[in-house]
Symmetry: C2
Subunit: 102 residues, 2 copies
Amino acid sequence: MDIEKSIAALNNPLRRRILEWLKDRSNFPPALPEHTDLEGVCVAYIQEKAQVSQSTISAYMSKLKDAGFVVAERHGQWTFYRRDEAKIQAFLAVVQNELLKP
Amino acid sequence: MDIEKSIAALNNPLRRRILEWLKDRSNFPPALPEHTDLEGVCVAYIQEKAQVSQSTISAYMSKLKDAGFVVAERHGQWTFYRRDEAKIQAFLAVVQNELLKP
DNA sequence: CCTTTAAATCGCGATATTTCGATATATGGA
DNA sequence: TCCATATATCGAAATATCGCGATTTAAAGG
């Protein structure tokens, strides 16, 4: 849990919105038939929704992954990203502990 | 509550540590006799502990203030900074709400 | 193989942040 | 009024981040 990386990853409105979108698969187009069993959302879908370049989305997802907020899983040509709820909670716990008195 | 400013303010280890230090007045030298009734810590004390230049500390405290995490109160030549616990809690609530599923 | 598609990486200019020293402002006291 | 002290603001150099297009890598299919 690198709090430095985590806060840096959150220090961007679009990255935070992506994390919110990933709460619910239905924020994205339905999965392809061959992917319906997989968790997570492929990069192309996230890009379409985020309306930024492919390289930007890739870098964003990479940053969210390095921060521990999402998990990447490759299946063939596709990379599926999904939230890591445990890590997100762990991060919040640390921040709370650091910020709140005492 | 500008979450953008708040996260940016936290995106710096020293600023976060200053927030922690301010949890407890005893992290700093005792107040001058004429200030014992005042809450908060003057900039010079924070600077001494943080070991950065006076201009850096001033800018840091300003950023923490703009983020709403601290309150500044001027008394004569001195500015006393103290945590704004309510604002800090409000920020945490917003972040939790944004990050946590659902 | 060759092509197509998905995603990651590279290189870059633009912009923002960091941190400083120097300077300005405000206050209190001799 | 003049000087010392406390803090804020300015200007600049170093570094980091942003977001793009171009290129590379990886996999699938013909």
